[in-house]
């Protein structure tokens, strides 16, 4: 164990002590915790930037050990992190969500509050400055859920770059990692995008129309990516293109000759500034191909992205549930709260049931991924379930508020729009 990582472990121990002290519950405790988490993740960041660039073997997080027992209890670190993210989601993200949606931008203070949580580096290997030694899609699921409870658009904007970071951590070679990853543990992480979706009806991510043609040692990319999160600000994108072996992932630094980014505002996720990325004869080197073009790498990336969107849906669906409960209890019709009517109460019960089912589906897929078990089926089920249930929950949220739900005075119309992204979009996020 390196000195830096021992220091970080000590830091986490101290965090645990603080977390278990009753004093924390008192004023300002949670805020300090968030700050400490940030510092703990920063501890090793200097190490990362010193890594040499040539021919280094890639760094990877370890596979988590096989768990023996069925267990729904998060680890202490996960609980701590979830609490910290939830606190920021409640105090900073939610109050800013309406304005971020209409302005199609995340306010700077929201950005920095989320940045301080150090979430971007969750998937980074320790040698590159990451805070955790073991791979944890489960941790990402918990963080995404907690942040998307605040707002899905802001969560997508701020955690989109984490998808890039995690992908390179998982599949990048030593040079690719050295070129891009150390910055993610630093103070000013880059804006990076992970782009799979295209703007074709019946889009098939397994057969992108964007093509990669060999030219000399390198490749030429031709095509178009859609709904790229923060596409206009991204300095690098990891995108899918079809090679003779099937779909593969390529690194494209932006701006690049032949690459055009234009806004592609959508029904929801507006804070994430979705964009269109057009590639017209964009030349990249041999080193742009990630995971050696292995179709298995692409499959895993697709599955992990679907788990991420399902996890974000869990957060937003929970927001719906938490919002409609007090509303239907206060709202009166025919002389009593509408919550006293079965038609209303059962709708609330059904939101809770399907939401809990979705949460468990996400966690199972993620925990299998962490333990090195096959997880394609579990990710597919989480996605299939989310694609159907999440928009329905968004719709129920508006319906329970009736006309009031349809106007922007309440957030349910935004959740209705955001939740339709789930099952529609591919890529962007990743666990």
């Amino acid at each position: 164990m390196s000195a830096a990582s021992s220091a970080r472990r000590l830091g986490l121990k101290a965090l645990r002590r603080i977390a278990s002290s009753p004093a924390l519950a008192r004023a300002g405790g949670k805020e300090r915790l968030a700050r400490l988490l940030y510092l703990a993740s920063r501890e090793t960041s200097r190490l990362g930037s010193r890594i040499a660039r040539t021919g280094r073997p890639p760094a990877r997080q370890r596979t988590a050990p096989r768990a023996d027992l069925f267990d729904l209890t998060p680890t202490e670190e996960q609980e701590l992190l979830r609490g910290a993210v939830r606190e920021v989601a409640e105090r900073v993200v939610r109050p800013a969500a309406k304005e971020a949606d209409s302005a199609c931008a995340v306010p700077e203070e929201v950005r920095s509050a989320i940045g301080e949580l150090g979430l971007l580096a969750l998937g980074l290997p320790e040698e590159l400055g990451g805070p955790i030694a073991e791979r944890s899609a489960v941790t990402s699921v918990l963080a995404l859920e907690a942040l998307a409870w605040g707002d899905m658009g802001i969560a997508a904007a701020e955690l989109g770059p984490a998808a890039f970071c995690t992908a390179l951590s998982l599949w990048g070679d030593g040079d690719q990692q050295a070129a891009y990853l150390p910055d993610f543990a630093g103070e000013h992480p880059p804006v990076a995008a992970f782009a799979l979706a295209e703007r074709n009806p019946l889009d098939n991510p397994l057969w992108p129309r964007t093509g990669a043609r060999r030219r000399g040692e390198g490749w030429v990319l031709e095509g178009e990516k859609a709904l790229v999160l923060r596409g206009g600000q991204a300095t690098v994108a990891l995108l899918s293109a079809r090679t003779e072996r099937g779909p593969a992932l390529f690194l494209v630094e932006l701006p690049a000759a032949g690459a055009t980014v234009s806004p592609m505002p959508a029904m929801g996720l507006r804070a994430a500034q979705t964009a269109r990325l057009t590639l017209e004869g964009v030349a990249v080197g041999a080193d742009a191909l990630v995971g050696e073009g292995d179709p298995k790498v692409f499959s895993a990336a697709l599955a992990r992205s679907r788990i991420a969107w399902a996890a974000a849906a869990v957060g937003t669906c929970q927001a719906v549930l938490d919002y409609v409960i007090p509303y239907v209890k206060e709202r009166k019709a025919f002389g009593e709260p509408i919550a006293n009517r079965q038609a209303v109460a059962f709708t609330v019960a059904n939101i809770a049931i399907e939401l809990e089912g979705l949460r468990l589906l996400c966690l199972r897929a993620a925990s299998r991924a962490d333990q090195g078990l096959p997880f394609a089926r579990e990710a597919a089920l989480a996605r299939a379930f989310a694609a159907r249930r999440a928009p329905a929950i968004g719709s129920d949220g508006v319906q329970l508020l009736g006309g009031h739900g349809y106007v922007k005075e309440h957030p349910v119309e935004r959740w209705y729009r955001d939740l339709r992204a789930v099952g529609t979009i591919e890529g962007g996020l990743l666990v």
Binding site: E356, G357, A384
Partner: protein, 401 residues
């Protein structure tokens, strides 16, 4: 550490249950569906084997006798609740009707295990106990029970009518729910053990049913039926806040198990349908967006996601019970989701397999008939939604009716 896989230590148990389901249940499944009310004597030997396994500890406390709330204790536990759930999922994969008529594994046994004192537990050990709650005028509304219990000297005198008693004819004991005072509502309703040979207990009829026809469903009349004072389960006091606790306690433990039955049946239907449509050339691709596949494949993916959600909800409820966490909400969620999903899945599977699925050539049509009861007994879909909604909204049963 979050992990939603079935623990290795319980896999052996599930495999054993699966073998039983495949070797004992499936071959006689159709026969006892056709010959309703005929006792499946094949199960007598099986019950003995299962009890042997239970006594040896090989079943980790699974079985109706073992389901109890666990104390807190140290660390994470996967105990009797999960073991029982996993066993039942497999048995229900075989045949829900036969599972319900496994000797000495009745719901009454679960009630005795949950609330009996030590003396009673010993006295009723090794006996098959059926549960008698429902009355012609009191279904889901079990607080409206009219059967009365009157203390005369050292005996309780029971009067009333009980219907839908699963295994009522074949069991040795009935756990009869009766009120000590009809004016005092839920608090006065208590469970009594009635031996089947007591005079005054009259078997009125056996029902002819849509499904689970291997399991007998009996109706009884109690006419001045006398039982010893010691046959009351729990305390004779009418305590307002504790009232009806026995029923609820039992149901918190058994709702996830009924959810498990629904999960097992749903899996049977899905496996069979996957096989059949596979032979017809439809393969489900997990990565390809459903809309780019055939409608049958897309539908199967949808149904499987419901199945998986139901399964995980049931596991969660059992896990909470094993770890001493209050699981009333989780138990109702599992039951509601699994109950409605298994009906939808089984009916959809019949549809996907067309005329063949609808015919008696296969078991799909039988599973679709069996499925419906799982969304009804142990609390209907609507009752589960009421329980869930009341908890979420903080409503009493008076406010949200």
């Amino acid at each position: 550490m979050i992990n939603l896989e079935v623990p290795r230590k319980l896999k052996g148990l599930a495999e054993q249950a699966h073998d039983v389901a495949r070797e004992y249940f499936r071959p006689i499944s159709r026969r006892y569906d056709r010959e309703e009310h005929k006792r499946p004597t094949e199960l007598d030997a099986l019950a003995a084997v299962m009890e042997g396994m239970e006594a040896s500890g090989a079943t980790m406390g699974a079985g109706a006798g073992g389901v109890r709330k666990e104390g807190g204790g140290e660390g994470n536990r996967n105990g009797a609740n999960m073991a029982t759930l996993l066993g039942l999922i497999e048995l229900a994969w075989g045949d829900v009707g036969l599972l319900l008529t496994l000797p000495r594994q009745g719901l009454g046994n679960a009630a005795i295990a949950a609330v009996a004192n030590e003396e009673q537990r010993q006295r009723f050990a090794g006996m098959w106990a059926a549960m008698a709650i429902t009355e012609p005028e009191a279904g889901s509304d079990s607080a409206a029970i009219k059967t009365t219990a009157r203390l005369e000297g050292d005996e309780w005198v029971l009067n009333g009518e009980k219907i839908y008693v699963t295994a009522g004819q074949r069991a040795d004991l009935l756990v009869v729910w009766a009120t000590l005072d009809p004016t005092k509502g839920r608090a006065a309703i208590k469970p009594f053990v009635v031996e089947k040979d007591r005079p005054g207990l009259i078997l009125e009829r056996l029902e002819e049913k849509l499904g689970i026809r291997a399991s007998d469903t009996a109706a009884f009349r109690l006419e001045n039926c006398r039982i010893p004072k010691e046959n009351l389960l729990g305390s004779p006091e009418i305590e307002a806040e504790k009232g009806f606790g026995g029923v609820k306690q039992t149901f918190d433990n058994t709702r996830p198990l009924v959810a498990g039955m629904a999960v097992g049946l749903a899996r049977a239907a899905l496996e069979e349908t996957r096989r059949l449509v596979g032979e017809a050339g439809v393969l489900v691709d997990e990565q390809l967006p459903p809309n780019l596949q055939g409608a049958a494949a897309a539908r199967l993916l949808e149904l499987e996601s419901d199945y998986e959600a139901a399964r995980l909800l049931a596991l969660k409820a059992a896990w909470m019970a094993d770890n001493g966490k209050p699981n009333s909400l989780a138990a109702s969620m599992a039951k509601a989701k699994a109950g409605r999903s298994c009906v939808e899945i089984a009916l959809s599977c019949v549809e996907l397999c067309g005329a063949l699925g609808y015919s008696e050539e296969l078991l799909l049509e039988k599973w679709a008939r069996d499925a419906k009861i799982l969304d009804i007994f142990e609390g209907t879909q609507q009752i589960q939604l009421l329980i869930i909604a009341r908890q979420l909204l903080g409503k009493t049963s008076k406010e949200l009716r």
